[in-house]
C-alpha cells in the first residue's frame, strides 16, 4: 500500500492537450458511420413504402397519391433499418444530428416537379409499359382461348 499513485498522471495532464472539446466554439467531429439524421432523395424515391413498413418507431409515413414522404424526427431512433432496406438507395444517414427546435415539426418531402423533357420521357415510358401490358394480356387471352377450344374439342 502506498499513496500518490495518480500523481504522475495528474502532472502529465497539466502539460497535455485537454481531453474535452470547447463545444460549440469547436465543431464536433463525426465519424463516417455516425448515425445522425435520415434524408431522402425524392428524385430517386419511388414511394414504395418499404421504409415505412420497416421503421420500428413508425416515424416514416409515405403518401403515394399525395406523392409525399414524411419523417417525424422526434420519433426516429436512428436504427438505420430504412436506409438498409431502401431498394433504390435513396435514403441516406447523415452524420450530423437534427438541429434543435422549439416546435415538434415534421420533415415533409414532396416529389419534385418534372421538367418538360422528364415529363415526355415519363409519358413515353408509361405508354411503352401500357403497350407491353396490353400485348401480354392479349397473348394470355389468346392462350386461354386456345386452351378452352382444345378442352371443347375433347
Amino acid at each position: 500500500m502506498g499513496s500518490f499513485h495518480l500523481t504522475k498522471m495528474s502532472f502529465k495532464n497539466l502539460f497535455s492537450k485537454p481531453a474535452t472539446k470547447l463545444y460549440p466554439i469547436e465543431p464536433p467531429v463525426y465519424t463516417p458511420m455516425t448515425k445522425g439524421r435520415v434524408v431522402v432523395d425524392m428524385k430517386e424515391c419511388t414511394l414504395c413504402s418499404v421504409c415505412e413498413k420497416k421503421c420500428p418507431s413508425s416515424a416514416i409515413t409515405v403518401d403515394k397519391p399525395g406523392e409525399t414522404w414524411t419523417l417525424n424526427p422526434f420519433a426516429c431512433v436512428q436504427c438505420y433499418a430504412c436506409v438498409r432496406v431502401c431498394p433504390k438507395d435513396c435514403l441516406t444517414m447523415l452524420a450530423d444530428y437534427t438541429p434543435s427546435a422549439t416546435k415538434k415539426s415534421l420533415v415533409i418531402e414532396k416529389k419534385p416537379e418534372l421538367t418538360p423533357e422528364e415529363k415526355a420521357a415519363k409519358e413515353a415510358k408509361d405508354k411503352e409499359k401500357a403497350e407491353r401490358v396490353a400485348a401480354a394480356m392479349a397473348k394470355k387471352a389468346a392462350k386461354d382461348a386456345a386452351a378452352k377450344a382444345a378442352d371443347d374439342t375433347k
Binding site: 500500500m1 502506498g2 499513496s3 499513485h5 495518480l6 504522475k8 498522471m9 495528474s10 481531453a19 465519424t31 458511420m33 455516425t34 448515425k35 420500428p56 418507431s57 431512433v77 436512428q78 436504427c79 438505420y80 433499418a81 438498409r84 444517414m93
Partner: protein, 362 residues
C-alpha cells in the same frame, strides 16, 4: 441503546444514478434493517413482444438499459436463434463478443469512476471517464452509435468491422491498457482507497450462494460463477478462460474484481481479433417461431448473469419474453450487506453492487 428510527433513502439521492428506495431502520447510527422498494420506472417492455415482431423487438431490448444495451440485444437474438434453430456464422459470433466485451470495459470504467466519485476521489473519477470515452469512440466508429449500437439482430450482426479496423481497435486498447495501469495501481494499492473500501459491506461466500448472487458481486465473495466460462458463442474459441475471483467479500474486493476484469476483456478482444474467421456476418432469417416452442439463454452482462426466456406462438410475435436481470438477484445480497453497517457506508454499499434499476424494472 438508542431509539429506533426509519430513514428513507432514495429514490432520489446524490449517490444513486437510478431510482431505488430503501427504508433504513437505524439504531445508534447502525442500520438494523433495510427494506428495498423498486417500481419507479417500470415501462412494461416485456409486454411489447405481443405487438412488435421479433425482428423489430431487438431495437426495444437495446433500450432496456443504456449501459448493457448491446448485451440485451445479444441475449434476445441468441434466445430467438435457439427458439428457431438458427446457426449464425462464426464471424458474427466473434464480432458480438468483441462488442460485448467493449461494453463491459465501458461499463466497468464508468462504475470505477462512480465509485471514485462516491468516496470523494474526483481526480480518479475524471481519469476513468476520460479512458471510457475512447471505448465510446470505438463504438461510434464501428457502429455509428455511442450508446445504442443497433449492431446485433436475429441471424447475426448488421455491421462488419474490417480487419484493418480491428487492428486499429487493438492498438487503441493497447494504449488504453498502458494508461489504465496507473488507475489500476491507484484502485488496488492506494492507501486512501483501501482504507475507505476495506471491510465495508462484507458478504460471505455462504451468504452469496444462499442469495444466488451473480456477477462481480458474487465473484468478489469467492463464488466461481461466470457464464463466459461455459464457452457459448464466440467465447468457445478462447484458449483459456478463468473468471476473476477475490475472496475478501468486501467493497475493496468488488472494486478489485471489476478493475481486473477490464484487463481480462482487453485480452479476450485481442485473442478473438487474432482468430477472426473470414465468413459472412449474418444468415437470412425467415418464418416464425413454432407454436409452443420455448427457449432460454444466458449472457454474462457487466453486472452478472442475465437470463432470457421466450415462448413462440406460431406467429412472428412472441407469446412471452422474460428477462431476469443481474440486479434483480443482487438486491437481496445488497440488503444483507446493509444490515449492521454504518449509516455513512450505506451509499457505498449500494454502489458497490453496481445496481442497474432500469434493467431490473424493464
Amino acid at each position: 441503546m438508542g431509539k429506533r428510527t426509519v430513514i428513507p433513502f432514495g429514490p432520489q439521492h446524490p449517490v444513486l444514478p437510478e431510482p431505488i428506495h430503501l427504508d433504513l431502520v437505524i439504531e445508534d447510527e447502525k442500520v438494523i434493517e433495510a427494506i428495498p422498494q423498486i417500481g419507479f420506472i417500470h415501462r412494461g417492455l416485456e409486454k411489447l413482444v405481443e405487438t412488435r415482431d421479433y425482428q423489430t423487438y431487438v431495437n426495444i431490448t437495446e433500450r432496456i438499459c443504456g449501459i448493457c444495451s448491446f448485451g440485451h440485444s445479444l441475449g434476445f437474438s441468441q434466445t430467438i436463434e435457439i427458439l428457431m434453430g438458427i446457426e449464425i456464422p462464426k464471424r458474427a459470433e466473434f464480432l458480438r463478443v468483441i462488442w460485448h466485451e467493449l461494453s463491459r470495459i465501458h461499463s466497468h470504467l464508468l462504475w470505477l469512476g462512480l465509485l471514485a466519485d462516491a468516496f470523494g476521489y474526483e481526480n480518479l473519477f475524471m481519469q476513468c471517464w476520460r479512458l471510457r470515452e475512447r471505448v465510446l469512440n470505438i463504438f461510434e466508429q464501428t457502429t455509428g452509435g455511442r450508446v445504442i449500437l443497433s449492431a446485433c439482430n436475429v441471424g447475426g450482426v448488421l455491421q462488419d468491422i474490417s480487419d484493418e479496423d480491428l487492428r486499429g481497435i487493438v492498438q487503441i486498447l493497447d494504449g488504453l491498457r498502458d494508461e489504465y495501469g496507473d488507475l489500476l495501481d491507484t484502485f488496488l494499492y492506494d492507501r486512501s482507497v483501501e482504507s475507505r473500501l476495506g471491510g465495508v459491506g462484507y458478504l460471505s461466500k455462504q451468504q452469496a450462494e444462499e442469495f444466488a448472487i451473480v456477477g462481480p458481486f458474487a465473484r468478489a465473495s469467492g463464488v466461481i460463477e461466470d457464464v463466459r466460462m461455459f464457452g457459448h458463442g464466440g467465447y468457445g474459441a478462447l484458449e483459456d478462460f478463468e473468471p476473476v475471483i477475490s475472496t475478501r467479500g468486501d467493497g475493496y474486493a468488488r472494486c478489485e474484481v471489476r478493475a481486473l476484469e477490464v484487463l481480462q476483456s482487453i485480452d479476450i478482444i485481442k485473442e478473438l481479433v487474432g482468430k477472426m474467421p473470414d465468413t459472412p456476418i449474418s444468415v437470412a432469417v425467415k418464418g416464425s417461431p413454432e407454436a409452443g416452442s420455448r427457449s432460454a439463454s444466458r449472457v454474462e452482462q457487466p453486472r452478472g448473469e442475465c437470463y432470457y426466456y421466450s415462448r413462440g406462438n406460431g406467429t412472428k410475435f412472441l407469446d412471452r419474453f422474460r428477462i431476469r436481470t443481474p440486479t434483480a438477484q443482487n438486491v437481496a445480497g445488497m440488503v444483507a450487506t446493509l444490515q449492521g453497517c454504518d449509516l455513512a457506508d450505506v451509499p457505498l454499499n449500494v454502489l458497490t453492487i453496481d445496481p442497474c434499476i432500469s434493467c431490473t424494472e424493464r
